[in-house]
Amino acid sequence: MAQSQAAKLPRDFDSGPIATGREQHPTDWGVGWTSLFWGSALVMAANLFLWFWDYEFAFTKGLNSASPEFTMYYRTLFWGELIVLGAFTGIWYGWLIRTGREIANQPFSRAEEVRRIAVLWSIIGVTSLSIYIEASFWPNWDGSWHQTLVRDTALTPTHIPMFYFFFPLSVVLALGAYIYGNSRIPALYSRDKGFPWSFFLLISAAVLECMEVAFNEWGHSLWISEEFFAVPFHWPFVAYGWLASGMFAVWGETILRLFEIEKAEEVANGVTPAESQAVAD
């Protein structure tokens, strides 16, 4: 019954192995971890595009925010980022919620739950990459840019990729990871358990970071237009790196769940082999 219901669902391990000549496991690189590779590739591609864009145009088009060139190359980039990110979020969240509703309350095998945890780890892994890009990679250019050149706008060439693409991207990824877990890993993240502290910290870290952007720009326009990285109104940015520790709690609680699944499998196999395909507890 579980097999037949699950077979209708997209990307479900319960839908059975593909004819590859060998049995597929949920932890095969090409099964549970594909989201990690594709997600990382997409984030890196976006990062490379934005880096080369700045490398090519920051000094030639990005110095005067009142110029037509700035509007052409940077305000367009800013709106383009928001549109792409908004479209991606709408499509991804829409898919997660729609398919999540379809599979809600449907039984699934232990192998399928393992695959789902691998997918969750993949999304978390991509979030980790996004956090590095926004918390280390771009702040370095932001520091060198603003300690060198006069700022006349909040939408500077280094702010546009960092503040208005990778900052919101981390919110989208962290919240998306929770939406995924909420519908697909009910043993840990079902609504009746309450909101997990792990995701609360991780998501609030990303949201606070976006709010700190407003404080940062307000502070730079009021107190100091120059750059001084250790200035106190930059300090709330650090909270992001600290609160992102919630990611370790996600890893911790899912590892514990994996051990529970293994134990259930052992018990099932010990009693009768037929029960190894039983619905996960």
């Binding site: 932890t27 971890w33 990690l36 490398y55 920051a58 192998a111 780890w121 993949s122 978390i124 979030t127 980790s128 956090i131 590095y132 890009i133 918390a135 280390s136 990679f137 771009w138 702040p139 370095n140 250019w141 520091g143 060198s144 840019w145 603003h146 300690q147 060198t148 050149l149 006069v150 700022r151 358990k193 309450g194 997990p196 502290w197 792990s198 609360f200 100091i224 120059e226 750059e227 001084f228 990285f229 250790a230 300090w235 940015f237 650090v238 790196g241 600290w242 609160l243 992102a244 520790s245 919630g246 370790f248 709690a249 890893w251 911790g252 609680e253 514990l256 051990f259 293994e262 499998e265």
Partner: protein, 261 residues
């Protein structure tokens, strides 16, 4: 003879642990380890670098800023926070005394990627002006201390001051050539000072004047050692901020939920 049963029990325990270590699971394989250790690099590097950059970044960006009194103090404080958090996480999870070293290596790689691509390639600052510090050597000692003492309190009290000393000492080696005196525009300056004048940072406060305030060479250089002692104190404080992060933001939330009323 009385110790024999204990030895048997110990041996039994060791065999049980070894059996657990070598246990074959159906789905838990080395891929999980690989994915965890690799993907965690990024969040750890990001957290360590943003903490250092926004608390002590200016004193690490430039060779001439590595001279003032703030450098040994605020750098030691800022760089020990995330290593301490990871020390707790890795010790709590696996009894691995490797958290500080893991963090320091992640931070080292992130800092060099940032400095090379964003300061050198993008902004044309020479690497010998903007090279980042390394905390790897200090982190190895901090992890060794935890392994030997098995105590976070002792590691903080002994390791904090040692951290401040070693971060300064190991990075003084590459810094020393830039602190040599040079004659420039009728003044005796350091090589680092000349770099700061030649490579213009037009949006950094006090970029036009050379202000001899809070230099490590004040009071015939004794300020340097006073700063290191104070830096050690600050590192102890930073260590416990890191412990808070590890204990209450990373480990405590595991399987805890916010309940609605």
């Amino acid at each position: 003879m009385a110790a024999a049963p204990q030895t048997v029990a110990e041996r039994q325990k060791r065999l049980e642990l070894r059996a657990l270590l070598n246990k074959r699971y159906k789905w838990i394989d080395r891929k999980w380890d690989l994915v965890f250790w690799i993907t965690a690099i990024f969040v750890v590097a990001g957290a360590a670098d943003i903490t250092k950059q926004l608390f002590a970044g200016d004193w690490d960006f430039w060779t001439d800023w590595k001279d003032p009194q703030w450098w040994p103090v605020i750098t030691a404080f800022a760089t020990i926070i995330i290593p301490s958090a990871l020390q707790y996480i890795q010790w709590a999870a696996w009894r691995f005394p490797t958290g500080a070293t893991y963090t320091a290596v992640c931070f080292f790689m992130a800092a060099w990627v940032g400095r090379y691509f964003q300061w050198h390639v993008a902004e044309s600052y020479p690497m010998n002006f903007v090279w980042p510090i390394s905390t790897v050597c200090a982190a190895i000692i901090l992890d060794w201390l935890l392994m030997k003492t098995k105590s976070f309190i002792l590691t903080s009290l002994i390791g904090g001051p040692i951290w401040a000393l070693l971060v300064w000492a190991f990075n003084y080696i590459p810094l020393a050539p830039f602190l040599q005196p040079a004659y420039f525009m009728n003044h005796v300056l350091t090589v680092a000072d000349i770099q700061g004048i030649v490579y213009i940072r037009s949006q950094t406060p006090e970029y036009l004047r050379l202000i001899e305030r809070g230099a490590l060479r004040s009071f015939l250089g004794e300020t340097q050692y006073v700063s290191l002692v104070f830096g050690g104190t600050m590192a102890v404080l930073g260590y416990w901020i890191g412990q808070f992060i590890g204990r209450y933001l990373a480990v405590w939330p595991i399987r805890r939920y916010l309940k609605t009323v």
